[in-house]
Amino acid sequence: MNARVLLKSLSMPIALALIVAFFALREPAFLGARNLTQLIIEFSIIGTLALGMFMILLTGQIDLSVGSGVGLIGGIAAVLVFHEGWSAPAAMGAGLVAALVLWALMGTLIVKQRIPSFIITLGGLLIFKGIFWKVISSATVPVSRGDEENLFSLLTTYYLPANIGLGLAFATSLVLGWLVWRAREKRIDYRLPVNSTGRETLFWVVKSAAIFGLVVVCNNFRGVPLSLLILGATGVVVYFLTKHTPFGRYLYAIGGNEEAAVLSGIAVNRVMIGAYVLMGVTVAITGFMSTAYIGSSTTTVGDLLELDAIAACVIGGTALKGGRGTVLGVLFGALIMTALLNGMGLLGVEPEIKYIARGLVLVLAVWLDVKLSRS
């Protein structure tokens, strides 16, 4: 029994390690600082979106519109910058507002009119795509004028200076240590079983080493990408929300048993609309990042991203029927997906095989999850 629990908690790291090992053997450049940095940027994009999707899936709903939403919001900002000459922050602000409005609207329709989210967001997928192409006139709209850099274009091209990266790693590791220590004290207070001090310290050292290692690798190329920071911040916020606030627990409650949530006096409607609004925020952030990633808004930005986001969540152990999942799992899921896509791109694998491999990994991951969590 215990072995199974251990295996389950390690299944994602192991899967990731296997994928990494496979690609590293086939192509040593996979582990090069340059490629890892690329991988981190791609990971940041999928990961951020997946975190938003995670909150939606927790409630037992789904959002199929996020891919075309990503295109649309990035497109709006790009058009405002390039054609209208707005400053990047203003344009991105406008994009964010648009996202908030659209997602609040979808959330309201789902909740108040009781239309299944699958339908509303499938409609959203189609409608946003149409609006998106209209907005950019099906053309290619750069994220900055001429060759200048702006906040928008820097989203995926700015790297933190080496020292700042190290400083951040240091700070993170300290905070982590403090959190672990505090949690331990609490558990002792409650007379709950705790790990031995040695073990706890070992875990902390391993985690800190991983963080430093990451920063050092990044510094070998250009430094820690700004986009990783964005993902990190989003991750911390979503973690805090889902783990430590009533709002977050309500997400689980609604997904677990909506009727019970209603009877417990939870404002289910408000919470669900809230989840969609937050999804809107991550769509906007992802929209800016993935548009910046290509350097301009083109008609295909965001295509199929909804599937990647859902797949990341599900691979990471989030239940589609709601009520189950963790932030860490989602991040692992996103990382597995990204590693796979990046590695195959690097090997120049044919598109056919790419499709097949993605499908197989998705099914295998979920199958493993199902197998291991059946008690």
């Binding site: 996979f30 340059r34 099906s138 290619t140 001429g146 990633y293 083109t298 295909t300 791109g345």
Partner: protein, 313 residues
């Protein structure tokens, strides 16, 4: 019969600048000639294109002008056209294995040759040059012809060891983001000492240049393109893209409208060449292409009014 000739224009996609320009020029010219145009865009989907053409036939157009997404996938629709006695003009991309009245295009092999030629002339001669090749959509017959043109120039040099292709891949549906990922993979695998990127059109060139820009290499590596898209001309002006192949779309589209109206009126059109598409020998018209870089940008693209000097600043 009804007086005003009606032309059905079925496009593969409108999601690239050039096709919007093709459409606009074509429609404008047709109007001048007193014809009406119904435009359809298939969004890069063969089934949709078949439906589009069926719809145009249902609406009783007098002639069809088709840019196929996939030259051999419109055969069933072509059959319907034949049954309805509607002549078909193949535009820019050749329709394969079906009866077609005329084919108007730029010389696609020449496009590939121009791209390769430009690169070859500027590659270092003292050592084997290292290049990356990004091809177009594998489903587009033109993409194969561009590659063929490039091969004509590059293959002898590759065989002679003067050029090394360090990475090559096809960009699905000509997508810029796919091209960017290809370029990224190329740099990761082959390092930054790359001399040139032979990208098959401006969209894919844009994707590749974005990757180079992030690497701090934009402008230091020769990148080719095609179509003289606005964004590409701006890049040429700014120095991050070396060349594009300017295809005076105006000529092609205008000519196509002329031919279409003439066909409706039953007039015969003189053509210089014929191309075998597998079913018939198609009377073909080739428009000239022009290789454009920073030096002749003003005298070609701008002088033609293709883009205003203003918009390139």
């Amino acid at each position: 019969s009804k007086g005003k000739p009606v032309i059905g224009l079925s496009l593969d996609t409108l999601k690239e600048e050039r096709w919007q320009r093709d459409r606009d020029t074509f429609v404008a010219r047709a109007k001048e000639l007193g014809a009406e145009v119904i435009v359809q865009s298939a969004n890069s989907d063969d089934t949709k294109q078949t439906r589009d053409i069926e719809s145009l036939i249902s609406r009783g157009v007098d002639v069809l002008v088709v840019v196929p997404h996939n030259g051999s996938a419109v055969s069933r629709a072509m059959k319907s056209a034949k049954e309805a006695n509607i002549p078909v003009i193949s535009y820019d991309r050749l329709i394969l294995n079906s009866p077609v009245s005329y084919y108007l295009t730029f010389d696609n092999v020449k496009v590939g040759e121009a791209q390769a030629q430009y690169v070859v002339e500027r590659l270092p001669k003292d050592r084997p040059a290292r290049i990356v090749r990004i091809y177009g959509a594998p489903t587009d017959n033109n993409a194969k012809m561009f590659k063929e043109g490039q091969d004509n120039i590059l293959n002898p040099l590759i065989k002679a060891g003067k050029i090394e292709v360090v990475f090559e891949d096809w960009a699905l549906d000509w997508k810029p983001d796919v091209a960017k990922k290809i370029m990224n993979a190329a740099i990761t695998k082959a390092g930054t000492n790359i001399d040139a990127v032979v990208a098959s059109n401006d969209g894919t060139a844009g994707g590749a240049i974005q990757a180079l820009r992030e690497e701090g290499l934009a402008g230091k590596i020769i990148v080719t393109g095609q179509d003289a898209d606005l964004a590409a001309c701006q890049r040429i002006q700014g120095g991050t893209q070396a060349m594009t192949v300017y295809k005076p779309l105006k000529n092609l589209a205008t000519r196509a409208a002329d031919v279409a109206v003439a066909v409706v009126k039953g007039e015969k059109i003189e053509t210089a060449a014929e191309l075998d598409n597998g079913a018939v020998k198609v009377p073909s018209i080739f428009e000239k292409i022009i290789s454009v870089d920073k030096d002749n940008l003003q005298s070609t693209v701008v002088a033609d009014g293709f883009h205003s000097a203003e918009s390139l600043k």
